[in-house]
Symmetry: C2
Subunit: 162 residues, 2 copies
DNA sequence: CTAACTGCAAACGGTTTGCTATTAT
DNA sequence: ATAATAGCAAACCGTTTGCAGTTAG
């Protein structure tokens, strides 16, 4: 089976450029990822993909996501809730602030921090090759906030020494 | 069975202050943790505890680290290799630089970064309650480095967008 | 005395993998 | 044609938990 319809997603195009074999399921998963505005976990990706093609298996989602990650077109995150969360790799680097009340994830960049990280590494005799910076925070504005982005499960609060 | 020998470890003292029931196995685990200079995972803690009392079960180690963590006298870290790593909670806050070649973990503090984190959160309308900052780096000095602190397993490199 | 603890083994939840049929190229 | 893939179910691995016997306070 080929085609189905419509314009290729950004991720699909990248896949083709990288010479990856494009199956229907990969195309669907690529589309779901490209269209995601949040940071879905595998279960959620599978659910969304299954809405398009109910036959897609969880194993395929896992394999595809790993493939995409290895192709550097997808970023995997671990926000401390046990499952891996994914985000299409774009050229703009950013870190994340996690609202521990709603689970919402906000992206941000701060160049001063970036540079300080390089400096710190250098002072210790190292060359920085990667980093992870997550801010866990609560809204200042005191209202009952909104819907949760985190699917389910027991978070067991992360961080604590701010 | 009580006693065995010697001076209480710092963690044991803290446990007693917190009113925790002190069993032999807890005392041993507390001692192992207090004497650790590295960031051991549960398996390693169990191995070290078992050298003192071969009867200690893995389940007990898991239950004890969870108990200690909840009592805020132990810090749990996740350096991206799947297992949890532990470190006695001291009053000095610090972040970690992970040498991805040797697995060694170096602690550091940088007040500028700390303050910038608060500022970033504030600008987004949030109050910072915790954070996670890990630098993944390689030694500048080009030599075959040293022994690994990471037990085993497949790390699957973390980070990448520095 | 008794609530809390330990060891054991079974259960768990996210993720990986062996196998066989299917498919992109 | 043929090497790579998808689906399924079983395996994995770190971690948790139910149960029955033991122990600290």
């Amino acid at each position: 089976m080929t085609s189905e319809k419509s314009v290729p997603s950004r991720l699909e195009t990248l896949c083709v450029e990288k010479g990856l074999k494009m199956t229907d399921q990969r195309r669907i998963i690529a589309r779901v990822l490209s269209e995601a505005q949040d940071h879905p976990d595998v279960e959620l990706l599978h659910k969304r993909a299954a809405e398009i093609d109910p036959g897609i298996s969880l194993a395929t989602v896992y394999r595809t996501v790993r493939l995409f990650e290895e192709a550097s077109i997808l970023e995997r995150h671990d926000f401390g809730d046990g499952r891996a969360r994914y985000e299409e790799a774009r050229d703009d680097h950013h870190d994340h602030l996690i609202d521990i009340q709603s689970g919402r994830v906000i992206e941000f960049t701060n160049n001063e921090i970036e540079q300080l990280q390089h400096r710190v590494a250098a002072e210790l005799g190292y060359k920085l090759v990667g980093h992870r910076l997550e801010l866990y925070a609560v809204p200042i504005d005191k209202n009952g906030s909104g819907e949760s982005e985190i699917p389910k499960g027991k978070p067991r609060i992360v961080g604590g020494g701010a």
